[in-house]
Symmetry: C2
Subunit: 257 residues, 2 copies
């Protein structure tokens, strides 16, 4: 189990490495999968973490947890239901979630598990899917909730979730995570708001990667946010949300007006 | 008025230039806007055209022409309604539209005008929007129509339109196009199926760029497909669809099983 991170040093130099406690063992390479050790170790406190990957797209699933589907009275889907959040929406831990200049309504957090793709993937079977997964991360799938149902004929999923800074990803990508034994815990200003078991998932990660790789080619670094469960809620300007999954870490972001 | 194209030579070398009749005046540069002439002229017949730009995302509008909205009984929206088609969906003229391996249903053509962004754009006003538009192109917004309404709770716009090869773009990017005086003409195996005036548009290009640049940052090369009007229909495997707009040219693609 490795926890990969990307960072910027105090001098402004970008880097990547494996997080080991409060230390980063630096590596160098075109990607985590072919990286070589530089021998250098940095203190986590001395760097600023970035999103651990740079997706070409973030695929966000809807209605993929039984508990939330039952609460909303929605039948389980027969194929993952998704929208695309653009690369411009991605930020890392500790970066601000910025309120859109032209939106004054409710902004909602959704704590989720994220699948990070390791290499180009197309029409993979469920059995093959694991070969294309680099690891797992935490996602806050931020949503301008009042936009979704604004038009009676067209639910605006993409617009409500696609704003700049609305895909918080990090702090690390954990390889070989036992996701089925893990829980997603989301706190709002320190108060627990979500705490749900990933075992309640409808389409598990390998099934998702197999099916979505038949819908579009997935690239290294692409992230699939597997959907949220009960407990989502709104964040006021100034609020801090922390999404954590044991084995990955804490993804913490503050809403800024 | 310049018609920018990207191409591959018979020797496999990529290039870009201005299309002048049956000749391409080659240029070189990081983008069309800062390109310098190489002095070389190539015969159009000697190269293979590519998509004239490489979008990070394609934004596709729904319900943006009065004639189609009236036919479907849908009120005009108060903001552009859109989804994102991934970069992996983009092909150029003469490239095949590939039937998805796991989909045997109806595949539909939608002839559209495409806006090509020239430089990074965020929160632009309508007055500023023109400065961020490089030019206009033709788009065939291909759609796996039977997927859209498959789930009763979530219209699958992104999935039905996001497959690889489902965003046909080209053949050229025309600067200073008088779009308001132009028509979109779509033929299926040589038979005219769409012929509608762009003047019937609900949100015109500058308004679209202004509004969507408030929803997300737009990058150079990004394409906004402004929506289609009446006459869309299905394409059988082997069918050839041609989308043409006077001043831009003919975008021609064949469906391959």
């Amino acid at each position: 189990m490795t926890r990969w991170v990307r960072f910027i040093t105090a001098e402004g130099a970008p880097g990547m490495g494996a997080l080991e406690g409060a230390t980063i063992a630096e590596v160098r390479g075109a990607s985590f999968t072919d990286a070589q050790s530089t021998g250098r170790r940095l203190a986590l406190a001395d760097v600023r973490l970035l999103s651990p990957c740079t997706p070409t797209k973030v695929i966000a699933l809807w209605n993929n947890f039984r508990a939330l589907g039952e609460k909303l009275g929605k039948a389980a889907p027969s194929h993952p239901l998704f929208l695309i959040k653009p690369a411009t929406s991605v930020i890392g831990t500790a970066e601000p979630i910025r309120r859109p200049a032209r939106y004054s309504g409710k902004i909602v957090f959704e704590g989720e598990l994220g699948i990070v793709i390791g290499r180009e993937c197309r029409n993979a079977t469920v059995e093959e899917a694991g070969d294309f997964i680099l690891g797992y991360t935490c996602v806050n799938d931020v949503t301008a909730a009042e936009i979704i149902a604004e038009d009676p004929n067209f639910p605006q999923w993409t617009r409500s979730k696609g704003f700049d800074t609305f895909s918080c990803i990090g702090p690390a990508i954990t390889t070989d995570l036992d996701w089925a034994g893990a829980r997603v815990v989301t706190t709002l200003d320190g108060v627990e708001r979500q705490n749900y078991p990933l075992a309640d998932i409808i389409f598990p990660p390998h099934e998702i990667v197999s099916r979505i790789s038949g819908d579009m080619t997935l690239h290294a670094g692409d992230v699939i946010a597997v959907g949220t469960s009960i407990g989502v809620g709104s964040m006021k300007d100034g609020a801090t949300v922390c999404v954590s999954i044991e084995g990955i870490g804490e993804l913490r972001n503050t809403v800024v007006a």
